[in-house]
């Protein structure tokens, strides 16, 4: 079993949900498709959806909700 990394394309603040009252896009352990949204990154008050980019199983988030993220930092891992 190998793991793949999902990296942030942008620096900013990472959100797991589209708004504070919405459920998270994905829970730890969910399977993901490449075009599934897994989070949102806020850069200078603008919001950018982040797609998984790869199909994978049992996602594990490495960045918490509302935490800062650097460009290129690993947001989550999935099993292939």
């Amino acid at each position: 079993m190998s793991k793949s990394e999902i990296k942030s394309p942008l620096p900013g603040t990472f959100y797991r949900a589209s708004s504070p009252d919405s459920p998270s896009f994905k829970q730890d352990g969910d399977d993901v498709k490449a075009d599934d949204t897994i989070g949102v990154i806020e850069v200078m008050k603008t919001f950018h959806e982040i797609q998984a980019g790869i199909d994978g199983k049992r996602i594990t988030f490495l960045i918490d909700n509302e935490e800062p993220v650097m460009a290129g930092q690993v947001i989550a891992e999935v099993e292939e």
Partner: protein, 461 residues
């Protein structure tokens, strides 16, 4: 009691501006900063700095408990909130006072009253300030909404009473649409704001955004004339002028007079701005809202009146009476401010955080650059994109525009994309030179007139 020390509960260029005003008055300055802002200019300029934690604004700059704790630890007399963040939070103003310090701004009650759209409109009406024709308050049901629509006509806006900042607004063009949109808008407002209350206003199209700078000490009230802020993108101002040079003198007098009447109606203390829509065709103006803080664009007013508004905020908050009467305040010349943002105007204004590799600020007569930049500074991605404001003054608008073009050519910011090319294009545009614009102008102009031809050749790869 004269203020001797202040905590600046903000960041960026306005924190720098506040520190400069405080230093001119001999006030000790304490700057709060998130861990992402350790290297910001205001931290370097302040006498002391206090770390308030997480880069996320909600956990630092917007966290009342954390900011109050910092102010107590710093043993300051006063807190200056700047603009944005906690500046228009009445509970924050109350918390500062409850902690035994002075809030540099109006009372918590005044902030709450003027921050409530429906209540502020009622205050304006009481003070004799014209308001946009509409329901005047909450609309109970569809039948009442139809009555209002028949009285004021179409197009109209259904607005959420608890909304703001452009959110919770629906445009309706006919009676049939109203029947359909009203229940939807109510459900949407209930879901978004926890309050399904709606009110109705007529749409004023092709209007200008004109605002009046007010100041009060609780007993005396003055205005510092008006600003023209019609050039906006996504309801964010991009370019501001003082004065609104095409405004007829009799309208100017009514507009500025009505803003002072509103300040008097609430016994206003501190700096504030009364915003209006102005319809050139009908020569009518309408109240929009009051901002109970210093505004981003205050420097254009300072340039034409020669008066330091931020220093006056410190004096008045310290208990002094206004240092000027209306008769002392005269406009002279013309000023324009360009907001320089870290955004790429050729890529749909994509945000551009990053490191400043080179900075050259033109040092010419009539030119002021309010900024938080220095060479080597890395702009964090967590906050808004405003890097600085280029403010240019001239004896008249023509001289101001000529100086502005030169200043825009002389201003060099390398390392990140900025909106400087947008401002160069605007400064050279015939409609801008004539002053022929309104609040929808810029977005249409961007589609029609702004192209990669405006991109400096050196930057075209």
């Amino acid at each position: 009691m004269t203020i001797k020390s202040v905590l600046i509960a903000n960041r960026g260029e306005i924190a720098v501006r506040i520190i400069k005003a405080a230093k001119a008055l001999g006030i000790r300055t304490v700057q709060v900063h998130s861990i992402a802002d350790v290297e910001m200019l205001a931290v370097k300029l302040a006498d002391e700095a206090i770390d308030i934690g997480s880069p996320a604004p909600k956990k630092s700059y917007l966290n009342i408990d954390v900011v109050i704790a910092a102010a107590k630890a710093a043993k300051v007399d006063a807190v200056h909130p700047g603009y944005g963040f906690l500046s228009e939070n009445g509970d924050f103003a109350d918390a500062v006072v409850a902690a035994g310090m002075t809030f540099i701004g109006p009372s918590g009650d005044a902030i709450r009253l003027l921050g409530d759209k429906v209540a502020a409109r009622e205050v304006a009406a009481r003070a004799g300030v014209p308001t946009v024709p509409g329901s005047g308050g909450r609309v109970a049901d569809l039948a009442k909404a139809r009555e209002v629509a028949e009285r004021i006509g179409f197009p109209l806006m259904i607005k959420a009473a608890a909304g703001g900042g452009g959110r919770g607004i629906r445009i309706v063009n006919a009676l049939g649409e109203l029947d359909q949109q009203f229940p939807l808008a109510s459900a949407e407002a209930a879901a978004a704001f926890g309050d399904g209350g709606l009110y109705i206003e007529k749409v004023i199209s092709s209007a200008r955004h004109i605002e009046v700078q007010i100041f009060g000490d609780g007993k005396n009230f003055v205005h510092f004339y008006e600003r023209e802020c019609s050039l906006q993108r996504r309801r964010q101002k991009v370019w501001e002028e003082a004065q609104a040079f095409l405004l007829p003198d009799d309208i100017r007098q009514q507009l500025c007079g009505s803003a002072v009447a509103l300040a008097r109606e609430v016994g206003y203390r501190g700096a504030g701005t009364v915003e209006y829509l102005y319809d050139e065709k009908t020569r009518e103006f309408y109240f929009i809202e009051v901002n109970t803080r210093i505004q981003v664009e205050h420097p254009v007013t300072e340039m034409i009146t020669g008066f330091d508004l931020v220093q006056e905020m410190f004096r008045v908050a310290g208990g002094a009476e206004l240092s000027v009467t209306q008769a002392d305040i005269w406009p002279h010349g013309h000023a324009i401010e360009c907001r320089i943002n870290a955004e790429d105007p050729f890529r749909n204004f994509a945000p551009a955080p990053g490191q400043i590799s080179r900075l050259v600020v033109p040092n010419e007569e009539g030119v002021r650059f309010d900024t938080m930049l220095y060479e080597g500074y890395t702009i964090p991605p967590f906050y808004d994109s405003l890097l600085g404001k280029l403010i240019v003054w001239g004896e008249d608008r023509d001289q101001c525009l000529a100086r502005l073009k030169r200043a825009l050519d002389g201003l060099v910011i390398e390392g990140v994309a900025t909106t400087i090319p947008l401002h160069r294009a605007l400064a050279g545009d015939a409609a801008i030179q004539k002053g022929a614009f309104h609040t929808r102008f810029l977005e249409l102009w961007l589609e029609r007139a702004f192209t990669t031809a405006h991109q400096p050749s050196a930057e075209v790869a």
